[in-house]
């Protein structure tokens, strides 16, 4: 559909004429629908369309492309620009603590083990910390998934996630782990008690990364989730999960716009190997459908 036209629009330049406001308005109407169907937040879409409108109006017309295709090219490039390039994990401390936060069921526990796998491939020695003391069998879930690959898991069971995180970190220092990955309980951005726990974990652990794990099928609410986690806890990056499905993933654009933080990795399956570096081009075409 739009993506094939995109491919052609990317590579040429011509000299005649400029895009009229009418061209731009018509082209953007279709894009607007596509973005909304892709779950990009309404206000984010409005702002994005306005941005592109200003940029596109008066642009030089490209040879052998309809104005519609040219606008698509501008949109695609703008999306890539906003989504941002892949940024690696910050691993400056010793050990490097990585905290995972997010809504219930977003994929944190699975992602924690995926990160351990990725980091071990890079020669690191990771420790997994099951700091979800709430969900039934959360500990067993992490422990058993980690066990399949012999990843060490901090196994002292404490009822207090903050105390547990503190002790786990001390042990990691003692035992010379390179990276400590904290899996935490799923929590609502509006649950003050659980947000306070997140803040306490954050303050207890001198973290390198505090990553928001977001389900790619999240709808309009992604802006609320992103904004609240960013304002109330403060995140350093995002991991978008379940991109092996057919969700368009527009939530990614919303989250990126609201937090300004990079999407670092994407989950593309349930297996521990299924974590990839985020690259904006693929997500941009996917969002455009």
């Amino acid at each position: 559909g739009l993506t094939e036209k995109l491919e052609r629009a990317i590579n040429f330049f011509g000299k005649k004429g400029r895009l009229t406001p009418k061209d731009v308005k018509q082209g953007l109407e279709e894009i607007r629908k596509a973005l909304l169907e892709a779950d990009v937040n309404y206000k984010v879409v409005r702002e994005f369309i306005k941005m592109v409108e200003e940029e596109a109006t008066g642009e030089r017309v490209l040879k052998s492309f309809t104005p519609r295709e040219q606008i698509l090219k501008i949109v695609y490039e703008k999306l890539i620009e906003i989504l941002g390039k892949h940024e690696p994990l910050k691993l400056s401390r010793s050990p490097s603590p990585i905290i995972l936060l997010g809504l219930q069921g977003s994929g944190k526990t699975t992602t924690a083990v995926k990160l351990a796998y990725l980091l071990r491939k890079k020669g690191k020695n990771p420790l997994l910390v099951p700091a979800d003391v709430k969900r039934p069998a959360a500990f067993e879930q992490l422990r058993d998934l980690a066990a399949r690959y012999d990843f060490p898991v901090y196994d002292k069971r404490l009822p207090d996630a903050v105390k547990l995180s503190k002790l786990a970190l001390s042990m990691a220092v003692l035992k010379r782990y390179d990276v400590v990955i904290f899996d935490t309980a799923g929590r609502l951005h509006i649950d003050e008690e659980m947000i306070e726990e997140a803040r306490k974990i954050r303050d207890t652990v001198n973290y390198d990364e505090l990553l928001l794990v977001v389900d790619a099928m999240t709808g309009q609410d992604a802006v609320n989730v992103a904004r609240e986690f960013q304002e109330k806890v403060g995140i350093t990056g995002v991991i978008l999960t379940k991109l092996d499905g057919d969700a368009r993933g527009g939530a990614a654009l919303s989250v990126r716009r609201i937090t300004g933080k990079p999407i670092k990795y994407i989950g593309v399956g349930e297996k521990v190997e299924d974590l990839e570096e985020f690259h904006p081009e693929r997500l941009a075409s996917r969002i455009l459908g």
Binding site: E37, A137, Q141, D215, M217, Q220, D244, G245, A247, R248
Partner: protein, 269 residues
């Protein structure tokens, strides 16, 4: 003929924003706005409510009886299937029913233990299994156990699966076939669990799962957050399956019967 007052376009835009941000989706939102353009502004709110409620009420709930009555819970990963089984189990226990859970998620780590904890919490029996076991075989054993123990209700938990994964959808269909072979009426309830924070993808999920199994009901979870779950209106319109319950928290009592009027009221803020 009516006179368009100056505040119409702005009001319509505000309405558009509310509908979109509730995850109602492009098609339904555009249809509603089309309708609103034909009527005076004072009638807007009532007309929107009317349209949405009539879609949600337009599907009848058929509660099939059986002993055991077999419920099968399906849906994509992480939506709240296992937790919802715990909650429905509690609800049925409060009605004095004898309830059996079947742990047919033999794939994800911690799944069996998680359901076991729920069974203990609400006073349900449970048929557990091994990881890697065939979920159809577990369902078979669970049905036998339900008969043998005189259970009233059998609740089958399945692994989360993306509807785009053909082999997983086939595995799920097999679980249903196994149950239907034991009893042609079973499963009496095939429930799609949908995460309330999901956007337009819920439509793809619903269509695929419905086509694969024939759904009898939908449970919309996590409405205790800020998401409105509006996509469920399009889902109901598309597949004609009723929403039965909504999940409003992680506890055993956090399940309420679906009420279209309340839902629409919350959606419109």
């Amino acid at each position: 003929r009516r006179i368009i007052t100056r505040r119409d376009p702005q009001l319509l835009e505000e309405i558009e924003e509310v509908l979109y941000e509730g995850d109602l989706g492009v098609e339904l939102t555009e249809n509603i706005l089309e309708e609103l353009r034909k009527i005076p502004p004072e009638k807007y709110m009532d007309r929107i409510k009317e349209i949405l409620i009539s879609i949600l009420e337009g599907v009848e709930v058929k509660e099939k009886e059986g002993k055991p009555r077999v419920w099968m819970f399906v849906g994509v990963n992480g939506v709240g299937k296992t937790t919802t089984i715990g909650k429905i189990g509690k609800m049925l226990r409060k009605e004095g029913k004898r309830v059996l859970f079947a742990a047919c998620d033999t794939y994800r780590t911690g799944a069996q233990e998680q359901l076991k904890i729920w069974a203990e919490r609400v006073g349900a029996d449970i048929v557990l299994s091994q990881y890697g076991a065939d979920p159809g075989a577990v369902a078979f054993d669970a049905y036998e156990a339900a008969l043998h123990r005189g259970m009233d209700e059998l609740l089958i938990d399945t692994a989360g699966r993306l509807h785009t994964k053909h082999p997983l959808m086939e595995e799920m269909k097999k679980i249903k076939r196994v149950l239907s072979k034991k009893n042609p009426d079973a499963p009496h309830e095939i429930v799609l669990v949908v995460d309330g924070t999901t956007g337009q993808n819920a439509l793809n999920q619903a269509k695929s799962f419905h086509e694969a199994l024939g759904l009898s009901g939908i449970v919309l979870t996590k409405l205790d957050g800020t998401a409105k779950g509006g996509i469920v209106v399009h889902v109901v319109k598309e597949i004609g399956v009723p929403v039965r319950y909504i999940g409003v928290g992680e506890g055993e009592d956090d399940l309420i019967p679906f009420n279209p009027e309340e839902f629409v009221k919350a959606l419109l803020g």
